[in-house]
Structure formats: structure tokens, C-alpha cells
Symmetry: C2
Subunit: 99 residues, 2 copies
DNA sequence: TCTATACATGAACATATATTCATATATTAA
DNA sequence: TTAATATATGAATATATGTTCATGTATAGA
């Protein structure tokens, strides 16, 4: 695998977004089903403000897709590569833990 | 997918390591074949000191495996989940770019 | 032993980042 | 319109992080 900077830099930026535990938890929360901000706040246990800030970054990177319904905003993880990426990395971690 | 903190936190830490472009380039450099620190320095275009600092972090997370041969240290990316993770994420980025 | 080469490490620093607090905006109900 | 609810945003801040510079350690050769 040989990556030029036009691939490497956005790749690193995307990984960086997954590199914060709160933000990663938010992404995982809306991985399989659409969740409102309020639901995410409850599930993740972070403040509403913090969740919104993180959602903004995830939205900007198109890692989640927003949908408005009345006063509520629903968020869903954007495509299936994300869950594949997570699964691969979880496999890696579990292999390391087994040692 | 439902992750407890014992999985989520190491997962985020690992992603964080891939989240710096220099460090990611270092990992990619030794993804398919063992490379000496000097070779990585040349390929990545960062200082020797910086490369060693990053390699230390990658080693601590067992993302690379070191081997000494005389004065040289060879590094190799540790297992195949890493390249799968990279490929998945590259696919994600390329889909986004296509929009 | 002395020198040179390859790599590692500690301190220092500038910048980036996560979080909080206060406040703003949008939508619904009264 | 007014009040209430759901979410977003800007400023401020404490901490984390990437990078450099100087120096240390390990190995090989003379």
C-alpha cells in the first residue's frame, strides 16, 4: 500500500475523529439505528453541549447523517465502512489482549 | 454493536494513534515489509527524532514489531487487521470524495 | 580504547483539542 | 405572541499532543 498525501491526510483526519472516546461512543450509539441527540446524551452520559459539538465534527466529516423531525434531530452513522473499520480494529485489540 | 468502556477506550486510543498524518505514514511505510528507522525517515520525510518518538508510541500499542539487527532496528506493522482497517477507511473516504 | 553510525530519549514549547458555561436558534404548544 | 423544549454555537480554559533540540545509549569497526 502506497499512499500519497491527498489520501493520507484525510485518512488521518478521519481516524483522529474516532480517536476520542466520547466521540467514538457517540458514533457507535447511532451506528445501527437513528438516534436523537437526547437519546445519545442519555446513552453516552455526556452533556448535551458536548454531544452537539462532537456531532458537528462527525457531520462535517460526513461520518453521520442528520435528519430533522420537528424539534428533534436524528443522527445515523453514514455508511457501512465505518462499522467494518470498527470491527477490524476491535479484532486487533482483542488479539493483543489475548497475549 | 454495543461496546463497554473496556473496549471503547483502548479502541479510541488505537484510532488516535492513526490520527496523526506523520505517524500514520510511518505505519504505512512498514505495513508490507520490514523497514529500518533510517529507511522510514527517508520515505516519510520527517526527522529521525520524530520518527523514533512516533515509533515508540506505535510499539507501545503493539501496532509495530521491532527487531534489532546490528546497529539497525527493523520495524514491521504488527498484524493484518491494521491493513484491513486502513482499507475500509480508505474506501469510506473515496466514497465521500466521489460525492 | 576511540570513533563513527544508528537509534532512543528527556526537556521545552507552541499548538490543538475536549470540555464547560452561557447563550442563541428552531420548533411546538398554549 | 409567549413559553417551553430540543438542539446548536461561541468563548474561555485546562490539558494533551506533535515537534525540535540536545543528548544518551548501543553496536560495529579501526
Amino acid at each position: 500500500m502506497n499512499l500519497d498525501n491527498d489520501t493520507l491526510i484525510p485518512l488521518a483526519e478521519t481516524f483522529k475523529l474516532l480517536g476520542d472516546p466520547t466521540r467514538l461512543a457517540i458514533l457507535v450509539a447511532c451506528l445501527e439505528e437513528e438516534k436523537t441527540v437526547g437519546q445519545i446524551v442519555l446513552q453516552v452520559g455526556a452533556s448535551q453541549s458536548l454531544v452537539s459539538h462532537h456531532l458537528r465534527l462527525l457531520r462535517a466529516a460526513r461520518l453521520v447523517k442528520p435528519r430533522r423531525d420537528g424539534r428533534q434531530m436524528y443522527y445515523l452513522a453514514h455508511d457501512q465502512h465505518i462499522s467494518c473499520t470498527l470491527k477490524d480494529m476491535i479484532d486487533h485489540i482483542q488479539e493483543e489482549e489475548a497475549l
